[in-house]
Assembly symmetry: D2
Homo-oligomer: 258 residues x 4
C-alpha cells in the first residue's frame, strides 16, 4: 500500500477528484463504500483480499448491543431530537482509551515490532515491561467472552481466506502465550486485538485504526438512534440508571430524574 | 445594553484586548467570570442589577441531578477517561429542542412581542396558535414540579431585587393565565420560562440564551465528571439501564453490556 | 423493506446476535459493511439493487474537499491530537440544517408525497408554499455546480441499473421543473436531492437519511485527519483564516493567532 | 477544601438540593456562578480568597481571539445553525493535549510534588527527566508572548492579594529557573502554568483543572458564536483557509470550497 501524499480532493464546477480519481466516472456506482474508505486512507483502491479483511473488521465492530456509547447517543437524542449529528457525535466521543483504544495500541505494538528481533524474546520483553509498568497489553482479555472472543477466530479465518500474510497474527499469538504464562490467566485475543492484526495485515497505519472503528460505530449508532425513534427507550433506561446511582439522598425525599 | 459590533479580541506579544478592554489591566482580577460572560455577549460589562440576574440564572441552571445529559457525560468518560473535553461535549450535545431549548423559545416569544399590541389580545393569540398547531408554549409546565417550579418564584424575586423592569414577567404571566384558561390545566412558569424573563430583562438576545444555559451546564457536567472520577458509578448505571432496555432477548440468553 | 422492530443485539459469552442474525456465523466475513449498515436500519440484509444504490450514495457523500466540516475536524486535531474521536465528532457536528440537512428534507418531501395526488398539482403546491414561506426547496440548486451537479446524473444512472422504481425520481424532477418555472432560475437537482431519491427508492426512512450521510462523512473525516497527521496543514489554514477575519484591530497592533 | 463525597443533587417536587445546600434557599440569588462552580467540584462554597483566584483564572482563560477552537465552532455553526450546542461542543473538543492540556500537566506536577523533597533537587530532576524523554515541561514557554505572558504576572499578583499560600508558585518558578538554565532559552511561565499555580493554591484537583478551562472557554465560544450570528465571517475564513491548503490541485482547475 503506498501512502504517498496526494490531493485529498479537488472540487470544480465540472466535477470532483478524490485522490486522483474522478468521483463520478471512477467511483460512484463503481466501487463499494469500503473501497472508498480504503481510498481515503491509503490513496488507492484495495485489493480483493484487503477489501475482504476491511469489510470483516468493519462488520465486527459495528454493533455490540447497549454499550455505554449507544446509551449516550440515545440519551442525547432524548434532549435534542432535531440534531441527529449531535447524538451520533456524542456516541463516538466515548470511543477512547478504554473503549476501542486497545485497537490503536495493539496495532502500534505490531507495527513497531522490530523486524530483526527474535520474536519470542521481543514478546517476552513486551510482557515484562507491561507488568513492570502495571499496564495491560492491548487486545488481550475480555470481561464477558472469557473462553475466547468468538469474533477473533472468525476474523483470523477471514484473514486466511483473504490471503493475508500471517506474520502479524503469529506475533500477536506469541504475545498472548507469554502473557498467559506470566500471569497464569486466560487472556484470549479479543476483537480489538484481532482487528489490529487484520488492519496491520492490509497496511492501515496504527494512528488511524481508531478511525476505522469510528466509521463502524457510526453505523451502529445510527441503527440505535433509528431504533430509539420508533421505540423510545432512553427515558426508561435513564430512570433505571438514576435509581441505581449510588447517591445517599436526604431522608424523606424520592430522587427523580427531571 | 449596546450590541454594536466590536473586535472580539486582539492578541499581540504585549497583551490581549477583549471587546476594547485590556484583558490584564481591566479584566483579570478586576471582574467576575459572570461579568466576563456578559462582556463576551453584550460587548460591555454588566450593571450591578444585570450581574445579579445573570448570576441567578446561571446558578439555577447549573445542576439538576442525574439528567440525561449528566449520564451521557459519565458514560462517555467511562470509555474515554483521558479526554475530559469529550465527556463535557457529549453532555452539552443533549441540550437541544427538548432540554433547555424552551429557554430560547420563551425568550424569542418575549423579544418579538409587539410593543403596540394589547397584551391580553396578543397572549390570547399566541395560545390559540399553539393549540391550532398542537405545539407547546415554551417555558410553561413541568413534569415534576407540578405545583410551581420552586426556582421560578426565587428568580422573579431576584429580578425585583435587581431592579429589572417587570414588562417581560407581566407578559409571561399573562400568557400563563390564558394558557391555563384554555387548557384547564395548571401550567406553572418553569425554570426555562423564568430564565427567559430575566435574560430578556437584561437584554440577552434570544438567539444566544441557549448559550447561557450551555455555560451553566458545563459547570454542572464538570461537577458530575469529578464525582465520577472519585466514585465511579457509570458502569453500574449502564448495567441497570441495559437491564431496563425493552428488548426481547432470545430465549435462554442473558443480555450483558460489554 | 420490513421495518418491524427487532432485538438490536444480544450479547452472551457465546456470541453476539444482531437483528436476529449471528454476528460471527452470518455476518463477519459474509457480508459487506454496506450490508451491515442496511441491516442496522432496515433489520434485514439488502437486495443486490439496494446494496448498489446504498453504496453509490455513501461513495458520493464521503468526500468533498476542504469543506467547513473537514477544516473543523483538522483544527480540533491541532489542539487534541490524542483524541481522534473528538476530531471526527467535531467534523460531524457541522452536518446540520445547512449542510446535508437538505437530504432529510428532500427525502421527507418524497416520502410524504400523497399517493393519490395528481403529481403536477402537488409539485406546484409545494413550490407555491416554499415561495410563500420564503424557504428553499431542499435538494435543488448548487452554488458551484450551477450547470447540474455531476453526481446527480451518475446517481440516477446507478438507480436505473440497480432496478429501482422510478417514482421518486419522476416526482423530484417534476418538482424541479415547477421550481425553475416559478423562479426563472436554473435549479439543478443536487447531490442531496439525488441521494434522497435513491434512499427513498430503497426504503430508508427520511428521519435517518442524515445518518447515512454521517456514516459517509465519518470516512471522509478520517481521511482528512490521516492526511493532517502526515502533512500538518491546519495551523497554516488557521493563520490564513485569522488574517481574513473581518476584525478591526486596534491601530499599531498585528493580530496573531495564539 | 474538603473533597468528601456528597450527594450531587436530589430533585423532589418541592425543590432541588445540591451538595447538601438548597438550590432555591441557599444558592439562587445568594451566590455567584463562580461560587456554584466551586461548590460543584469542592462540595463547599469558596472562601473570598478562593473566589477571587477562581474568577481570575476563569476570566484569563475565556477568550484569546481567533484560536483553532473558536474557528472550529464558527465553521460548525455554518453548517448547523439550528444547533448551538453542537457548535459549542465542537469548539470544546479542541481543548486537549496541545491546547489547555498543559494546565492539567502543570497542576499534576505541582500536586504530586513530594513534600519532603529538597525543592531544587526535585525541580532539577523534573527538568532532567523531561529532557531525557524529549517532552516539554507543561506551563512553560509561549510562541507569541516570548518576553513573558502578560497574564502570568497579573494572576500571580491576584494570588498575593487573595492571600494564597505561595508554595506552588515558588516551586513553579524554581522549575522555570532550572529549565531555562538547562536549555539556555527563555521559558516564561505561561497562562496555563500560572492558572495551574492558582488552582493548586485553592485546592482544585489536577484531574479536573481542564474542566475549569472548559467552563471558561464555553463562555468565549458563546461570544464568538453570537458574533458569528450578527457578522457572519466563517465562510470568508473557510475560503481563505482553503486557498492556503497545501494541495497540489490538477492543472487548469480552481479549487473551491463547496
Amino acid at each position: 500500500m503506498s501512502l504517498h501524499h496526494q490531493t485529498m480532493a479537488a472540487v470544480t464546477p465540472d466535477g470532483v477528484t478524490v485522490k486522483g480519481l474522478d468521483l463520478v466516472r471512477d467511483l460512484v456506482g463503481s466501487v463499494s463504500f469500503t473501497d472508498m474508505l480504503h481510498l481515503e486512507i491509503a490513496a488507492e483502491l484495495p485489493t480483493e483480499g484487503a477489501r475482504t479483511a476491511l469489510d470483516a473488521v468493519l462488520v465486527a465492530l459495528t454493533e455490540h448491543g447497549m454499550t455505554a456509547t449507544a446509551l449516550a447517543a440515545r440519551l442525547t437524542h432524548l434532549g435534542a431530537p432535531g440534531a441527529l449529528q449531535g447524538a451520533v457525535a456524542a456516541g463516538l466521543l466515548g470511543a477512547g482509551d478504554h473503549f476501542l483504544g486497545a485497537l490503536d495500541g495493539a496495532a502500534r505494538l505490531l507495527q513497531e515490532w522490530p523486524a530483526d528481533a527474535e520474536p519470542g524474546a521481543h514478546a517476552e520483553q513486551l510482557v515484562a515491561r507491561a507488568r513492570a509498568e502495571r499496564t495491560r497489553l492491548p487486545g488481550l482479555g475480555h470481561p464477558v467472552h472469557t473462553d475466547g472472543d468468538p469474533r477473533t477466530a472468525r476474523l483470523f479465518a477471514v484473514a486466511d481466506r483473504a490471503g493475508l500474510d500471517g506474520t502479524a497474527r503469529d506475533r500477536f499469538l506469541l504475545l498472548q502465550r507469554y502473557a498467559e504464562q506470566a500471569t497464569g490467566r486466560r487472556l484470549p485475543v479479543n476483537v480489538d486485538g484481532a482487528a489490529a492484526v487484520l488492519l496491520t495485515g492490509i497496511g492501515i497505519p496504527w494512528q488511524v485504526c481508531r478511525g476505522i472503528a469510528l466509521v463502524a460505530r457510526s453505523a451502529g449508532l445510527v441503527g440505535h438512534l433509528w431504533d430509539e425513534y420508533r421505540s423510545p427507550a432512553a427515558q426508561a433506561m435513564l430512570d433505571a440508571a438514576d435509581a441505581a446511582a449510588p447517591y445517599t439522598a436526604p431522608a424523606a425525599s424520592a430522587e427523580v430524574s427531571a
